[in-house]
Symmetry: C2
Subunit: 396 residues, 2 copies
């Protein structure tokens, strides 16, 4: 008699969470130092020092009612201005603070944006591999999820299948670059090709197909990789951002939605975002964290710590003969499972106390995801096990 969909969602534990729980159990049996858990994407570098300094300063100096009181629904004006300033740097032109709606993190950014857009019968297109919660968010907003497979190991979408997936009922496409789980970045060429398709299809149906950019990993990029400013390539883009990874604050639930001024009917779109935030119960984003974001929006994470981990694991596994997607960003390595199914490979890895996530829940088969936001010693400790796996599969 209660809502069966919500019950099923609450009762189903994610594949990732199952593996994490196994890891905890195993750590209790053989010691944490002997379990090499690559299952969870929890940032392992501390927040930039300025974050805690700002918090300490704010509680010392700011009036309690001003610090902890309600902000307006779209957010504290200083937080919106700081976010707009970051987006302006990316855009190369001035994005007004009025384009920013502060949220309780990336998941809230996505659910609010989807609820602002979706009508019954609409479809939302995602590019595999994709974060499994996209399905939950899109379906809860009333949409049908349509998936587009990647073109081989590039993890760029198969453009023919992408064009075929966009139809009369498509309301939005979600992109996630750098990508969880593959670490791949959508190239400017890919995005331009996608934009051309979306413009044509929008013209055909007489209303925009929106591009929703889920960008929590935007600053976690290596070498000279850069994430393009999407509204510069396709005007009807909506940016969903979170400070979770850039400020290592995943539990604090702070991010924003940007509706760029170039979007068609941007004012109405922004109003619908405000309405959806209200309808879902998001009164305002956490006030203290909004003030932290106002002060620290320009801070950058210690990308080097992640880059070092990436270099060790990607270098070693490639050397051993594993076939890995070259990760340009985020903190995930996507490894082709040798010979068998991803699930079988994960089971075999468990024999060496290495915990990986099979790619099936991300919408593609035959890969495993490895989160390298872990201590360096976890990576180094796992390498002998990976050697044995490589030998087992007769790689090289």
């Amino acid at each position: 008699m209660i809502n069966e969909k919500m019950l099923a969602l609450g009762e189903s534990r994610s594949a990732i969470r199952e593996i994490f729980e196994y890891g905890r159990k195993r750590a209790g049996e053989i010691g944490a130092e002997n379990v090499f858990d690559f299952s969870l994407g929890n940032p392992s570098v501390p927040a930039p020092e300025k974050v805690n300094e700002t918090i300490a300063e704010l509680v010392k100096t700011l009036d309690s009612v001003a610090l902890h009181g309600y902000t307006s629904a779209p957010g504290d004006m200083a937080a919106r201005a700081a976010a707009a300033a970051q987006e302006s740097l990316r855009a190369g032109y001035d994005i007004p603070a009025g384009c920013i709606y502060m949220t309780c993190g990336a998941a809230a950014s996505l659910t609010i944006t989807l609820n602002a857009l979706i009508n019954p019968g609409d479809e939302v297109v995602v590019l595999a591999p994709f974060f499994p919660e996209y399905r939950v968010f899109a379906e809860t907003a009333g949409a049908k999820l349509v998936t587009v497979p990647p073109e081989g190991k590039s993890m760029q979408p198969d453009m023919e299948k992408f064009a075929a997936a966009i139809g009369e009922n498509t309301k939005a496409v979600i992109v996630n670059s750098p990508n969880n789980p593959s670490g791949a970045i959508l190239s400017a060429d890919t995005l331009r090709a996608m934009a051309a398709v979306l413009e044509e299809k929008s013209a055909q149906k007489g209303s925009p197909v929106y591009l929703i950019a889920d960008e929590p990993y935007r600053e976690l990029v290596y070498g000279d990789a850069r994430v393009p400013f999407l509204p510069g390539i396709y005007k009807n883009s909506i940016v969903c951002y979170s400070y979770s990874k850039s400020l290592s604050l995943p539990g604090e639930r702070i991010g924003y939605i940007m509706v760029p001024p170039c979007a068609e009917n941007a004012g109405k779109l922004f109003a619908a975002v405000c309405g959806a935030g209200r309808a879902l119960g998001y009164v305002c984003a956490p006030s203290l964290m909004q003030k932290v974001a106002a002060h620290c929006a320009g801070e950058r994470p210690d990308v080097d710590a992640y880059r070092k981990n990436r270099d060790i694991i990607y270098g070693a596994l490639t050397e051993m003969g594993f076939d890995c997607v070259s990760p340009d960003g985020a903190f995930y390595l996507f490894v082709k499972s040798p010979g068998e199914s991803a699930a079988a490979f994960c089971e075999k890895a468990k024999e060496f106390e290495i915990l990986l996530v099979p790619s099936d829940s991300f919408g593609v088969g035959g890969y495993v995801r490895l989160s390298y936001c872990v201590a360096e010693q976890t990576i180094r400790g796992a390498l002998p096990g990976f050697e044995k796996l490589a030998a087992h599969y007769g790689l090289k």
Copy 2:
């Protein structure tokens, strides 16, 4: 082509917000000290000292990843245990921490609970006067809102109409005690009578009608008024709590849902709550604030500051001949508008720079709401204007 309902919600400013904005404009014209704005329910007392002390201590001592990292979806175990301990004190028996789901405040508690329960065709019953967002939350979850009028000035529900409102399709009843906007507390007698109706109707339909207790003002009570522990009166009660008012942290978005062990199928109900939180994009409640709640759940607000304001305003207005609901809790005074409509009374009050909210948006006509969570001088400054209003209406 975007969602019209969300657009309408985003474009419609609430009556309260309209008046607040008028007050800001007027303050700019004649000086803030000459405007007596009783429109907003923003706590005016600072957070208990322990709150900011705890934050300062946590950022100094706790590891950044532990402090700002994800908690599990239902919350940090210490925060859940602290909430359960408070509920256990009220219950008189042990409520396990596993019954608590930490949320981003009362609005989130309500939207999550409603989405966990509601199926298409369901109805949600509210007792007028009620917080206007209940309609938004219930309708967004897919339910039809059914309202029950109060019985005269007691602000207890008309029990005959209450019984008639509960039918085959009723999934839940929301109660808010102490009440926004009237300050009234539902008496134990009223609640027992309601429980008897709900038990009978649940038996008739063969599944529970849930009682949802929206209790952010629970600790803001005066004299010997007490808010009964609802699951003790009706087992299928779900408690939606927020620390907004008790810790003066409304902007921080921290609260919880309690599914009591006595509720039918409590385990499945709790799982559906977890599912709804996930589906709406609430990954976890803000982590730092969860830790603050763990340390400060037993702190109490400075009720005396509100009580003093209440005594001044209730005493003075009653003395002048205004007909006021005696407020036993919260920080609202509900005043019967003399002679004319509530809107006309509010317009007249504006002439004396007194800003009140007409009761129509709360589901009853003929009253105004006055928020006395303001500085004492605002109340004292408004009294001459109220005298002139009383004279205008020929009271006494």
